[in-house]
Structure formats: C-alpha cells, structure tokens
Amino acid sequence: MKTAIEIENLAHNYGLVKALKPLNMSIESGTLFGFIGPDGAGKTTLFRILTSLLLPTQGKAKVLGLDVVNDFRKLRPLLGYMPGRFSLYQDLTVEENLNFFAKLFKTSIEENYHLIKDIYDQIAPFKNRLAGKLSGGMKQKLALSCALIHKPDLLFLDEPTTGVDVVSRAEFWEMLRKLKNHGITIVVSTPYMDEAALCDKVALIQKGKILQTDSPQNIMENFSKPLFSVKSINRNSLSKDIETFGKTDSFYWFGDSIHWIGSDDKDADLLRIYLQQKKHEDLEIEKINASIEDCFMDLMKGNHE
C-alpha cells in the first residue's frame, strides 16, 4: 500500500495554546480517513498544515511524497480542499464559481465533469443563481464540486457535515463513497461520532492529541470493559438510582437508555436486583457492543489534564 500522508513529530502552537501536540502517523493511499473529534480538537489546524496553508511550529509532514513546507508549489495543484467555512465567491453564480476554480487549476469543467456529475447535476438547475443565495445543502454541493474540478489526488474535507440534518448527512457520505471509487484519497473531519463507522480508518482526536487510530471496527471491538444498556419505564428515577448503586465504573445517557459500565459482567446481575428493589418495572438490561461514542468517552477520561 502506498502512503498518502506521513506525519512526523508534527505540532502547532498558537501563542501559548498547544493546538496540536506532537503527532506521528501515516495515512494510506485510497482510503477514506476520518478525524473524529469535537471543536477545538485541532482538526482544522492539522488540515491547514497538511494543505500547506499553515507552517507547523515543529515537525514534518509529507503529503503525496511532497514536503508541506518546501514543496508546497508542487503539492497544491494535487490537492482538493473544502474548508469548514463556506469560502466560495458569494457574488458569483454557481457556474462562474466552478469555472473560476477550473481555470485556476488550468483545466475545464468539461474535462473532469464525470467526477462531479452526480453532485453537480443536483445544483445545475440553479447554475445562474449567485452562490450567496443558495441553501446550505446546495452550497455544500457546490463547494465539493469546486474542490474536485481539477481531479485532485487527495481531497481534504473539513467538517463538511456540521450543522447538516441526518438525511443530508447520509447522502453526503454516499457521495464520498463514490468518489473513493474514483481512486481519490479522502481525508475528512467530523464532530459526529456516528460518522466514524462510515470511514475505512479513523483517528479519534481531542485537545490536540490523537487518542486512537484504527479501523472503526477494531476500535469498537477493542473496547474491553463490560458495557450494558439499561432501560426502564421510570426514566426520571433511573439515573438517580444507578448513581446510588456502588459497583459502577461509569454511566451516562445514550438516547433512550443508560449505558452502564461495571468492573465485570456479574455486577450487571447485581444492578438488576438492585433496580428491581427500587421498583423499576419493565427493566431491560443487556450487554451491548461499544459504539465509537462509547470508546471516545472512555478515552477522553484518560486525556484530562
């Protein structure tokens, strides 16, 4: 497997703020790689360094075999970058924006139309509309089209789905899957933990530090603590009662149930008896597999300064 990105001891500070702590990792060509983490994790800083838009405080990074500091002129034409904030020209039309980016990279819309066809067809009926007058979803599709029009080898997408509804998010990931099939390496960041499962490989990142890097399946399977889902009709008293039960590692709400972690499986039987004594009817306690969010929360606890 070829390496698309090689990061060595890379770090970045803004004044006294350590936005990115020394980082070593590599990303293989042809993968859909996700950086999963909340705001302030350092995702945008890392993306700006890897796209040669920001000089790192220390360390080295090679993207497509090129040094992000010394070879930036050669590197930039090979990259597509969709920043987190909508950065197209609001006072140009949809088509003018696309044309502009195509010309900037010395190509034409026609040459690589096959790449963006699926995405651009959806906004083509509005091609004479000013970009600033588009809805959020259409802006997103235009930005992706502009980032792709020069057929980059590597595409960086910084939080493309933030603030987007679940249905549109699912559609967006579907588009990314198809792009991957064109042989483009895709590096994407997101604060939505559930989107990790849609990546080939992910890095969980928080407070400038990578907590874990692996395939989402491996991360979830490697969660070794006994995790149970607890449901009761008496929602309001459930968390209060679990709080008074002694043998708990941690517990938290997860949608309509509480996720409870004990020290071993037998504790769950004790918990059941305890909650039955507290008159919880229709009690459901079952062992479950960890989701990425469970793993992230567990890893976070070890990353508090």
Binding site: G37, P38, D39, G40, S135, G136, G137, E159, T162, G163, V164, D165, V166, V167, S168, R169, A170, P191, Y192, M193, Q206, Y252, W253, F254, G255, D256, E293, F296, M297, M300
Partner: protein, 246 residues
C-alpha cells in the same frame, strides 16, 4: 397559564413561497420540547416568529402569554435565546458578558453583580475570572452561554443547536443543565442534529417541507413509525416526501 407556547394554523409566506404551512402545536410550561427537521424545512422561519423577530402571515401565535402580532417586544423580554454560532462576545470577559446581557434586559446593577457571583460559583469559573471568553474551553463557554440566556429569568429558553461540535461528555453535562432548569418550571425549546438528544426531549416535532409531520413523545413516535430510533423516522419521512414529489 400552563401553556408556554400556543400555535394555531401558523403560516408564513415569502412571496409565493410557503415556508411554514399551518403549524399547530402547544408547549407546556416546564416541558423540554424538541424542534427537529431537515435543513430548509422551515424551522428557522418558525423559530424567528416564536422569538418575536418576524410576523406570521396568518394563524395565531402566543408565546409566554403574549401575542406574536401585537406584543413581539414583550415576547423578546420574556424569552432567552442561545445558539452555538452566536451567544457570547469573544472579546469580552465573563463578567463583561453577564453585565452586557443583564444590562440589555434591564437588570439593576446589584442584580447583575449577584448574577456574576452566582454564575462564577455555580459553574466553577473562579480560575477563569477576568479572562476573555475566547480563551475559555468550549464546554465552559457553552454552559456560560446557557446561563447568560437565562440571566433575566425568562419563561422560555430557545436553544438553537446548542451542542453542535461539543464533545460527548460536555454534551451530556449540558443536558443535565437543561433538565435542572426544566425541573424548576422553565420551558425549553431546543433544536439539534444529534438524534440521541431528540430522545432526551419530553416531546418532539419533526418538520418536513414547512409542515409538522410528527409530534409526540420519542417513545410514542418510535411505536407509531415502528422504528428503533429517531433517525429512522427522519429517513422514513424524507423518503415519503421524495416519493410524493415524484
């Protein structure tokens, strides 16, 4: 008055486009009410009307007992608003932000002073006192923004994607704060794109194409739509919309 919000046949048109189409719902005092829907479904238009920032085209709207046509200024005084995108001024300190918002809502000097003390203590901000908001950790900023939206003790707080981009632990701590206020009788009107958070609401609505397509408690909706979770309901409703359009 037990209803915090009453909406009857609310419609808002922009020219020939109907952004909000005959909405009907009520929100009880002390309820945590989730307002969900796809981007462009009309949520923002509806929320602007409920906050007194925009007038309905037709229908009745009462918020905190005030009429959206004639008493929008009174509505503004009696609600709080917080969004992830904008709430606090980054270049002001914690105390300055509280003083600013307290001042806007007409709190007296002594009241503002006691609010500053109260929030610093309640949110453990001692070590951050005197710092500008931009230097605060996101989680703390979030909790402070919620408190500031509550500074004038409004009847209802509108939270527009309050947890967007927030880490999973802080997100849950934030919901603990919401519950605590609701338990004290405060009405919470919240939008979110996190479907697990939809489950934390007493009732939710899902808007599709300007209309309310679902309205009930999360557990009843899951039964009604025969799904395991709220995102499946979302998918079902949007598919239904697509087939009806074709």
């Amino acid at each position: 008055m037990n209803k915090a919000v009453v909406v009857r046949d609310l419609t808002k048109k922009f020219g020939t486009f109907t952004a909000v189409n005959k909405l009907n719902f009520e929100v009880d005092k002390g309820e945590v009410f989730g307002f969900l829907g796809a981007n462009g479904a009309g949520k923002t238009t509806a929320i602007k009307i409920l906050c007194g920032l925009s007038k309905p085209s037709s229908g009745q709207v009462t918020v905190a007992g005030f009429d959206a046509y004639k008493q929008s200024e009174l509505i503004k005084k009696n609600i709080g608003y917080m969004s992830q995108r904008f709430s606090l001024y980054d270049d002001l300190t914690i105390a300055e932000n509280i003083r600013f918002y307290g001042g806007i809502y007409g709190l007296k000097r002594v009241e503002i002073q006691s609010k500053i003390k109260e929030y610093v203590k309640k949110l453990n901000l001692e070590e951050f006192e005197g710092r500008k908001v931009i230097d605060l950790p996101l989680g703390i900023k979030q909790k402070l923004a919620f408190s500031v939206a509550n500074v004038h003790n409004p009847a209802i707080i509108f939270l527009d994607e309050p947890t967007s981009g927030v880490d999973p632990i802080t997100r849950r701590q934030f919901w603990d704060m919401i519950y605590l206020e609701a338990a004290h009788g405060k009405t919470i009107f919240v939008t979110t794109h996190y479907m697990d958070e939809a489950e934390y609401c007493d009732r939710i609505t899902i808007m599709v194409d300007g209309k309310i397509e679902a309205l009930d408690s999360p557990s009843k909706l899951k039964k009604e739509f025969n799904t395991q979770n709220i995102s499946e309901i979302f998918l079902k409703l949007s598919r239904k919309q697509n087939t009806s359009q074709n």
